[in-house]
Point group: D2
Chain length 157, copies 4
Amino acid sequence: MVSDLGFQFFHPIEVRYRDVDAQRHVNSATYFTYMEQARAKYLQALGLWSGEDFEAIGIILAEQSCTYRKAFRYGQVVEVGVRVSRLGHKSFEVSYSLREQASGEEYARGRTVLVAYDYRRGQSVPIPEAWRQILARHEGLVPGDPANRKEADDDED
Amino acid sequence: MVSDLGFQFFHPIEVRYRDVDAQRHVNSATYFTYMEQARAKYLQALGLWSGEDFEAIGIILAEQSCTYRKAFRYGQVVEVGVRVSRLGHKSFEVSYSLREQASGEEYARGRTVLVAYDYRRGQSVPIPEAWRQILARHEGLVPGDPANRKEADDDED
Amino acid sequence: MVSDLGFQFFHPIEVRYRDVDAQRHVNSATYFTYMEQARAKYLQALGLWSGEDFEAIGIILAEQSCTYRKAFRYGQVVEVGVRVSRLGHKSFEVSYSLREQASGEEYARGRTVLVAYDYRRGQSVPIPEAWRQILARHEGLVPGDPANRKEADDDED
Amino acid sequence: MVSDLGFQFFHPIEVRYRDVDAQRHVNSATYFTYMEQARAKYLQALGLWSGEDFEAIGIILAEQSCTYRKAFRYGQVVEVGVRVSRLGHKSFEVSYSLREQASGEEYARGRTVLVAYDYRRGQSVPIPEAWRQILARHEGLVPGDPANRKEADDDED
């Protein structure tokens, strides 16, 4: 079961004073910045992005969400778990677990849907085969297997 | 039908150079900053927040999401439509339409679930009656009416 | 006298809820974001930047500073005055006055030193003659005239 | 000589994808966010701030500046050196060295002038004696000694 899969990749992020807003906890939009940072590091760790060529990232963000359980505060380190939780034809879903490092407690969960995109042609394209194999191998997913899908696939597979 | 209701409140936000990231369009997390700003202005317009006392805002963000259709760019003005699309017992949902001002085209849609919260007691509370009446009147919602709900209500109403 | 010159260009910026930090006034780094936004609009107004090609801006920031008198707060609009206060051979200085729009009161002053730069060759270059003429004409400066200089010129003019 | 004093406190900050702007290097305002974060950690390390009570920080920022030599990029870690470089009667100056961690190369230098402030009375006050002693001891400064001053003291000492 995909939903039972643990996170194999984690990236620690120190809460910055600037991340905190007038409510004196980390601003809700900043959780998406944490996910973005951890996702970039995940793609680099898997060899899918060099970290240098910003045109080369042929994926666009179609949708994202976050569920907040507890508010991060200045002084904490956020440990962000990242994994690909669904691998479709043209899109894939990344799931996140945002934990307070010292206690290991999960404060928030997130999800992004990413679509493979050809910037030159200006249209979505099938996920490159090399990406599919690396992601599937890393996450123990079987591409095309309905068991990979936690929810209805909006791809035209 | 709630889903047919138009937006009656709009707030314009100029895209800042700083909102743009290395991909050269507005960063995906920044859409939530736009929603936050427009929501604050909406609450002020309805007389629910003074804009000054940050402790007084007895609502916490439980969940939020955004669906991206097109990317905002530097030079544009974002017109953010805001409305309360569900009014539960302890929580309410705010929906957003992010449009490019010059063309009127919708680039993104968002949604936040907010929970009434008593900071002193550290627990969720029923939405204050005054808030319910103002929100319901403004949006033409009938509190407690299932027609207000676009989706299953997670409240223990 | 340059120091007596008024500002002829102003750009209004609405304080965002997100600009405010845990001290409940606008974060000190954000004043530089306001200056950056107003500077970009100034360059566009003078026809020096299209607002679209980010490679084309052949200037790099060498130095900047801000003096804080009063703290901006959520709910205010910042009116940012921008002018070129010194026009050197390879660099020019931009000065800013950050005012609270409703009262007209100056809350902060800023300054940036910008250097003309050739990104392909990776080195500073003389300010293009077209830029010099437009800036000088707009600000009533006489290029090369020591009266333009409020302080010692660090250029190798 | 104060100017010869080395930095005894360093704080590492990972460049975030979000710190990078359309020019594809770290945004110039973000350098002040790095300094702010390192300064907060410095004050905590010296026992001058708990990291929790945001009202307790009785200092306000009067002035700050940054000199840019080289641009930080995504993928780098910024090592921020922090020290108090001047200790006046009501104000003190903090200096920063922003270095790229891997090479040790200094990319930027910064400076902030902080003023002791009584928020209840709304006015500047002498730096508390306990602060002076801790800062002077840590930095090897002799309070009141002109040798502490790199430049004219704007305090009414």
